[in-house]
Assembly symmetry: C2
Homo-oligomer: 253 residues x 2
């Protein structure tokens, strides 16, 4: 049996079902490619499973998927991953391959940045348009499709969840300042005012964890302290009265 287990985004977000599957597994493989996992959480997993955790990078998870599936035909194997699994293409590919080879698998869900960021923002989740990601830019790779997504959302009076690319070498998302610099470059190109300096944006640092910090400020004024691993931005559309009141009460202003 192959388990694909979400560890959630908070320090203690592993579910009852997740704990049970971990205890029942002979092999535990950490997806170290798609997101950061808290070392304390890994320590907890080692302690309940009494197993070494094998760390897998992109090649082990993608090209090495046949090896994982062969193992899982003989014994219980858990792939553990941050957040809720299956939102990443890598996870879907593993399950498609398992399905093709007739291997039984089970997905165990947990908290996801996707729902927790919306919940903690206090914004109406019916008002969110499509989500986008600000990717890392390199000299020859400067994608700007996030600009078009947010621009269309603003035109339709929709909120935008803007995920920040994960740097698996550093084990953290790109910095908020870096994301804002990329947005400003895209702004210089499109000139539609989507990321104008006086537009307000919400920055959610380590949302869902004990260290959660949420600020709501003009793009020009966003300053964050250095101490976070994962950050997400939300560009709100025109706030409703209830949304404004919520943000005020939760003192994010």
């Amino acid at each position: 049996m192959l388990y694909l287990i979400g560890l959630g985004i908070g320090e203690r977000d592993i579910t009852q079902a997740g704990i049970e599957a971990i205890k029942n597994s002979e092999i535990i493989i950490l997806d170290g490619y798609t997101a950061f996992v808290d070392p304390k959480k890994l320590k907890f997993i080692s302690s309940i499973s009494k197993r070494e955790i094998q760390r897998a990078g992109r090649s082990e998870l993608e090209e090495g998927v046949s090896k994982i599936i062969s193992e899982a035909k003989l014994r219980n194997v858990s792939i553990i991953t941050n957040g809720d699994p299956m939102l990443a293409t890598t996870h879907k590919t593993i399950l498609v391959e398992a399905g093709k080879q007739g291997l039984a698998f089970k997905v165990i869900h947990s908290t996801s940045i996707f729902s927790v960021a919306i919940a903690e923002s206090g914004l109406d989740f019916y008002r969110f348009g499509p989500t986008c990601t600000v990717p890392r830019w390199s000299e020859h790779y400067k994608p700007v499709s996030f600009y078009e997504t947010v621009s269309a959302n603003i035109s339709g009076n929709r909120h935008s969840m803007i995920l920040l690319d994960y740097d698996n070498e550093k084990g953290m998302s790109i910095r908020i300042e870096e994301a804002i610099a990329i947005m400003s470059k895209a702004e210089e190109h499109y000139k539609l005012g989507v990321f104008a300096k006086d537009r307000e944006i919400m920055a959610l640092c380590d949302v869902g964890t004990e260290k959660q910090k949420i600020v709501f400020k003009k793009i020009a004024d966003i300053k964050t302290d250095a101490d976070y691993r994962m950050a997400t931005l939300i560009m709100p559309a025109k706030l409703s009265e209830i949304e404004t009141e919520y943000i005020k009460q939760i003192s994010m202003v």
Copy 2:
């Protein structure tokens, strides 16, 4: 301290943090208004907390919020709720009121239909447009805004998550057949083909639970067995190659 605890959507989705908060609470209030909670889960909560669970309906949660806050100033109070909390307006209102009265509160997240349905559908989560709900219709109340949301999503080649209204008297969402009948009535009104009989739709029954059943069929062919509590629909836009392959492998066709 006031805890607002999500119990998740699966049978064993309570997180480590949730279990701890429940154990530390003197008063446990079940939100019986916004969604169904599995009786086995309630039994587990009673057993770990050694407390009676108080069931709260709409009036206790909305007009009775001051009473809950007064209690939570004296002792630890947990409000437990299905899924991930705070996506419901009722929960936000409770926290705004707690904030106004200077009461410390903590939100404990769990799995949400919102991310789990997208994950289990195998569809690309970047391609989802705004979510809508099909509400129960009565003789004098027949809202159709869901039609406009799905219609705009289809025009933009976006997938639509279509939640089904919760009937808190029956303790289940409206039936898929009822939702499809409402959609067809809306179709007769707008005549844009959004819910045409030959359009394919995904029906997700009790998603994230042991009883999960997902079918992907033409609207005209959707038939479900009677044995589910909560259902959700997803109206996909034009499927990509990877999405088509995933759906085929997971044998939802």
